[in-house]
Each structure stands twice: as C-alpha cells, then as structure tokens.
C-alpha cells in the first residue's frame, strides 16, 4: 500500500495549498485562529508580507505562505483561513482543518483574541487535542487592556500544557517572544502533558474501547485518541481526508470495524445516540473552555464597551441606520470627486506637456510620422488619460474606504441590509462582497468565499458587477460633470455626488432585484442560516491605512489598468488608422455595431469602446475619445468643456449620456473578473451566466430608457 511521501506529506493536502520550503530544514508553521483575531497582522509582521487586513471576519480567504527567519532558523509560515472550530462546516474550514490535521505542520500557532479568549479557546482545545506542537498567541492584548480585561496567561499555559504568549501584533509587540516559544517548543525533547478534554463517561468508555485498535492500525502517524473520537462521531469529509493522508481506508480495517461497532454499542446502551454525540462533544469542549477562562479572565465592563454600544445605536438604529449609511457613501464620493478634480487637472496638464515633448523628441530623431503618431497619440495618450483620470480618485477613495473597513463599519452595513438580502433570498454577507466590489469586482468575487451556502455564493458572484468598481466611476464622474452639472463651484460637486450616489443606489437596487430573480429561477432555494459577527470598533491606524491602500491597492489596480491601456491604445490607433476602402477599420466596426447600439441609446463607437474595454473598464472613455478624434481634432483632452463639444458634435444627447452611464453600470464584468469567476466556480457555465446576466439586464434597461425617451419625444 502506497504510504509514499506524496500521500502522507504536505502535498497530500490539496485545495491549491502546496507548501514550498526554501531548504529541507525549513520548519512549517501553521497560523490558525478564529476569524478577525489579527491572524493576518501576525502573519504580515512575521513574514514582512502584505496580506490584506481589515476589521471584519473572513478577509483571509486564500492560504498565504511566507518566510520568516528567527535566530538563524528558517520557517515557512502558512496563514490558513479563520475558523471557529476544526469540525468543518464550510470549504475554508475544511482547508484549515485538513492542513492542521494532515498537512503535517511542524507546529501550529493558534492566534486568539484577548478580548474574547473563551470563545477562541474552543479552537485551541481542538488543536491541542490533535497535536502537542501548539503555541497559543493571545493577540490584541492592547485592546483587551483598554476594554478592562485582565488575563492570567501563565495560568492558561499551565492548564493547557502549551506555551501561551501575549501579543499586540499591530504594534509588533510579543512577536519575538512568540517565535522564541515556537523554537523552544520544537526543540523540546519531552513535551509535558497537554490538557486532555474529559468527555462524559459513556464517550470516554467508547474511546477507550476503540483507541487500541486505531493505534494498531495507524501506528504513530496520528493521535489515536483523537482519531478514535472522530471515527465515533463519523465525519465523512474528515475520514475521507484522513484516508487520503494515510493512503488506506481506516474504516475498512476489520479490527477497527469490530471495535467501532462495540464502542457504538457502549454509547447506545448508555442512552447516547449518534446525533447526540456531537452535541456532547461540543458541550464538553465549550465547558472546558469556560472552566479555564472563568479562573483567568477578569473583566470589568468599561466605558469602551458602553461607547461601542452607543455607536451601534446610532449607526444601526431604525431611524438613523440607513440615512447615515447613505450619507457616508455620499461623503466618500464627494471627497473623491472634489478632491480628485484639481490633482487630476494638474496631472493631465503635466502628462500632456510630456506628450508634446515626446513628440518633439521623435521629430528630432527623425522618426517617421506613423511611428510617432502610433506611439505618442496611440499608446502614450491612452496611458496618460488612464493615469490622470484614475490615479487621483483612487488615491482618495481607497484610503477612505480602508478607513471605514478598519473601523469595523462594514459588518454593520451587512447587519443593516441583511433583511433585504433575506427578502431577496440571499446572504447578508453579500453586502461585504459588494463593498469590496466598489474597489474592484475581482476582489469582490474572491470575497464571496465568506458566504457558506453555495447557492447564495453564486448569487453574490453573478450580481457583484452591479456595483461599479473603481475603473468605472471615473467614467461616470466624467459624464456626470460634462452633461449634467458643469465643473464650477461647490454646488456642482455636491450635485455630481448626488447623481453618482443615485447611480450606485440604482446598482444596489438592481443587485437585490436580480438576486431575487435568480433565487426564483436558476438558483432556486430559501435563504440559509448564518451568523454575522459585529467586531468591536477599532481606532484605525491612519498612517498605515494610507500607506497600505496606496501601495497595496491603488498602485496595484493602476498598474493593471496601465498594463492593459498601453496595448489597447496601440490596437485602437491601428484600428483608427488602417483604412479598408474609404473608411478606417474602427469606422467599419462602429458602423456595423451602430444600428443595434442606437436601439439601446448608444452609438456604434460607444458600444465598440465597451467591447474593447473588456480587459479594463478604465479605457472605455479614452477609446471613445480617440475614435471620435479620428474624424475631428482636439488639442487639449483634459478640458472637459472641449470634450463635451467633441461628444455633442458626434451626436451625443443627454439620452446618450444616461444610457452610457447605465450601460457602464450594467454590462459584462471585465476580463480579470471573468477569469476570477471561472477560477472560483470552476465552471464555465456559471462564468457565462455571470457574463450574460448583467449584460442582458443592461441591454434591456438601456433599451427601455431609450425607447421611452424617444416615444415621449424627450430627445
């Protein structure tokens, strides 16, 4: 039987988690913990990496690994998704469990939240039950102190029989001690007794009956007591993972089978049915945790807690909950619009000044006209547009948004809106994935992993595109400014904010409608149960927020957009300058699309721009402009009044503007998002549906709006 290194080793754990050691001597350390206890912060601090963190449960949805060196010893740190228990309920919890149980990490660091240690103890106890190579890191000590919680961690360590290290990872406290404890633990030849959870008598007797058989069959590879318990409490996915890891079927062994039957008899004769067994196991663990913490946690109800409740009463109350939510959304967009105006102008002036100099340079070098036109007017100009239009709003929006995220406001949004998601037969956590969608829809799609029910997860993925991402609101803002407001004055920016917020609210309403529609058709079902944790409010670390959101998010998204914009600029230029017959390729394509585009209130060029903008929504407006400019001329692209004239000369009316905005809000997801959907669903069918649903809805809505406007003679 194949007990190969491949089947027993770390590689046996699939789900894309293959631990890469840099040298053979590297020790593999798993970082486990409940959701939202600062596990990623600990991981980042130890590895110097930048795994995204924020104040809401479930950010870590992928396994990340990084390297860390302490005292000349090398470690591979594996950040596994947060989970409350190793009795897996969801795909991520399964990943976490399989890695701790069968991934053969050299040690497991269980990160706990000092402010609610008792609940975290559940996972600690379950981990200690499997392996003695555990170090408990009690994080957020600073926060606990502020909340008036005092912890006697020495006593916790004594009770558990494993090291317990206090830490405040956000300020880097306790991390050296943690790594020292990990080293010491690994070096210990003889590990002292670790805590053993005492179950009620019938269960203990059943374990005692089965354990020797398991020891005989499996040998030293797994903890026999733990395995005996798991066999009794038959957990199909765990047994499957176990068999994979062992390379043979434990339950198929005759001796194990016999003893298992005997053990089950023992329990049944003492009145414990199999259904009750799990309850009893969980109760015993919870009560053990309670028992440990009763002695060591000293809690005084403090001002801070009372303050949190007061804030909650304002942010989530019947009368103020929704207005504040809208107001915050509005404020963020207002700051983004007004704040971005001036730097955008400045950037644009600068970049177009460079364009002229580039042109001069090419002329000086004697480059042929077609080449300098292609590189400067094609590639450079599109690039310059994308940078000048996108960078300032992103550099303002992302930090503001990260601030809200850090504060702990986002779960409150989910809390406020959940009833409506329930009505749409979806999950309240969809609100969190929508919030991520504001930044980038692809990120929103990945975030959908926090939703447990597969049906509700698909709904969240298909509808995520109705939230306009960062690549789209520069388009929306530009059109709003040109066609509805004009640029001057405070009133103008206030009005633009109002309209933009309106567009986004429309997107949110569409999300609810389409979610409900999907629940009634291709994704039939009733809303499933869920629990939503509302974390304590945390004071955001403003400096870190700014640095992190600029470097991790802004520059990343901008880089991606720019990488797409340059080749797109080239393609557009070629299309606009290669003539077939008496018209350019671009004109032919636009003319071909025109009849249909007119039907939905657009024109051929706009639709073509959306199609060519598939790799990145940011380049839609530059494409439209370039296409129109092939027939006209425009000296200064940064001047919105001139742009307005250009668009009007090409037949734009208020209806074109409205339909372009609507279509921008509701059309296919960009290529990155589509690829992410494919990766997450592993299904071409759902990817195509996610492509078709927003597109279909957008076409229908635009058609209805355009027809109505024309019917009533409004244009």
């Amino acid at each position: 039987m194949g007990l190969t290194s491949g089947s027993t080793g770390i590689k046996a754990v699939d789900m894309g988690l293959v631990v890469k050691k840099q040298t053979e001597d590297d020790k593999v350390i798993a970082l486990a913990g409940n959701p939202n206890v600062g596990k990623s912060t600990v991981f980042n601090a130890l590895t110097g990496m930048n795994q995204h963190t924020g104040n809401w449960p479930g950010k870590t949805v992928t396994n990340a690994q990084g390297y860390c060196t302490y005292n000349d010893r090398h470690f591979v740190m594996v950040d596994i998704p947060g989970c409350y228990s190793l009795m897996a309920h969801s795909a991520e919890e399964e990943v976490a469990r399989d890695f701790v149980c069968f991934g053969n990490p050299d040690a497991v660091v269980v990160v706990c939240d000092a402010t609610c240690l008792e609940r975290n103890m559940n996972l600690v106890l379950q981990t200690v039950e499997i392996t003695p190579n555990v170090v408990v890191c009690v994080n957020l000590m600073d926060e606990a102190e502020r909340k008036g919680i005092r912890l006697d961690l020495d006593q916790v360590a004594q009770r558990l029989g494993v090291p317990v290290i206090p830490a405040a990872a956000r300020s880097g406290k306790g991390l050296d001690e943690l790594m020292q404890a990990v080293c010491d633990r690994l070096d210990e030849e003889e590990k002292g007794e670790t805590i053993q959870i005492r179950y009620i008598r019938p269960i203990e007797d059943a374990i005692a009956t089965l354990q020797p058989a398991v020891e005989t069959v499996c040998g030293e590879t797994v903890n026999a007591r733990w395995l005996a318990l798991k066999l009794l409490d038959y957990d199909a996915s765990l047994i499957h993972a176990l068999n994979e890891s062992l390379g043979f079927d434990v339950t198929g062994d005759a001796l194990v089978q016999e003893k298992l039957e005997e053990a089950k008899q023992i329990m049944q004769s003492r009145g414990i049915s199999l259904e009750e067994l799990r309850d009893k196991i969980v109760s015993c663990i919870v009560l053990t945790a309670e028992d440990i913490c009763n002695d060591v946690v000293h809690h005084e109800r403090t001002k801070r807690e009372i303050r949190d409740r007061k804030i909650d009463r304002i942010l989530t109350s019947k009368w103020t909950g929704f207005p504040i939510m809208l107001l915050l959304l509005g404020i963020i967009f207002w700051l983004t619009i007004t704040g971005a105006n001036y730097p955008s102008q400045l950037l644009s002036d600068g970049l177009f000044w460079i364009q002229d100099r580039l042109m001069d340079l090419f002329v000086m070098m004697g480059a042929p006209v077609w080449l300098r036109s292609m590189l400067v007017e094609g590639v450079y100009r599109v690039l310059a547009w994308v940078v000048s239009v996108m960078l300032p709003p992103m550099a303002i929006f992302f930090p503001l948004f990260t601030l809200l995220e850090d504060l702990g406001y986002l779960p409150r949004v989910a809390f406020n809106l959940d009833k409506y998601f329930k009505k749409a037969r979806a999950c309240g956590k969809q609100a969190l994935t929508m919030c991520m969608g504001f930044g980038c829809n692809a990120a929103g799609i990945v975030g959908c992993r926090i939703i447990d029910s597969p049906r509700e997860r698909l709904i969240a993925m298909i509808t995520n595109n109705f939230v306009p991402c960062n690549g789209r609101y520069p388009t929306l803002i530009a059109i709003i400014t040109m066609f509805f407001i004009g640029t001057a004055g405070m009133g103008a920016s206030f009005l633009s904010t109002l309209i933009l917020t309106g567009v986004i609210v429309l997107g949110i309403v569409m999300t609810f409608l389409v979610s409900r529609l999907l629940s009634a058709t291709i994704l039939k079902g009733v809303p499933s149960s869920f629990t939503l944790e509302l974390p304590p409010y945390r004071r955001p670390q403003i400096g870190k927020v700014i640095v992190r959101s600029i470097f991790d998010r802004t520059l990343f998204v901008l880089g991606r957009a720019a990488a797409v914009a340059a080749p797109a600029g080239l393609i557009i230029w070629v299309m606009a300058n290669v003539f077939v017959g008496d018209a350019s390729l671009l004109a032919h394509c636009a003319a071909f699309l025109d009849p249909f585009a007119q039907l939905i209130g657009l024109d051929g060029v706009i639709l073509l721009a959306f199609i060519l903008g598939f790799p990145a929504n940011e380049i839609v407006v530059p494409i439209i402009i370039m296409a129109y400019m092939a027939t006209g001329s425009l000296t200064d692209m940064s001047d919105l009044t001139q742009l307005h004239t250009l668009l009007v000369n090409n037949g734009w009316t208020w209806l074109t503007a409205v339909c372009t905005m609507l279509f921008s809000l509701m059309h296919w997801p960009c290529s990155t998002t589509c690829m992410t959907i494919k990766k997450e669903t592993q299904s071409l069918k759902w990817t195509l549906i996610s492509f078709a649903v927003p597109t279909g809805i957008g076409i229908i809505v635009c058609f209805l709006v355009a027809s109505a406007a024309r019917l009533f003679g409004l244009v």
Binding site: Y84, L287, H299, S317, D418, K419, K422
Partner: protein
Amino acid sequence: MNQIYSLTSLKEGERARVSTLLSNGSMRRRLQDIGLIEGTEVECVQKSPAGDPVAYMIRGALIALRSEDSANVLVACR
C-alpha cells in the same frame, strides 16, 4: 419555575440563559462553535434598522442572528 421563550422574544437589553437548541445540521454546529450551548447566557443587544437580524452578546462577542435562527434557540428568562 422559569418561563421558556424563544430568543426572538427578548427585548433589547434583556438577558437569558439558553435552555434548548432546536436548530439542526450546520446551523446547530455553527451556534455551538460560537459557544451557544445549554446554559450559555445571552444578551439581546441591538436590533437592526429593519428589525431583523438582531445582535446578541454571546460569550463576549457580538453576533447577529436572523429571526428564523433565533426562533430555534429556547431560553429561560431569569
């Protein structure tokens, strides 16, 4: 004799002890994971603007439950 209610009937600020969990399957396990077992003290903290879900303080953590789920948690008021 303690009166048995469902968790749903608690008003904001009221506390009670869990007497029975009626939920099944994964929700039952989820609730147990966050420490909601027989005897656990629960405080109703805050209703959402639409009245549902409601946030409860369970073992030091604030957890929102939908009314369908909290109806399956029976509590005894003190």
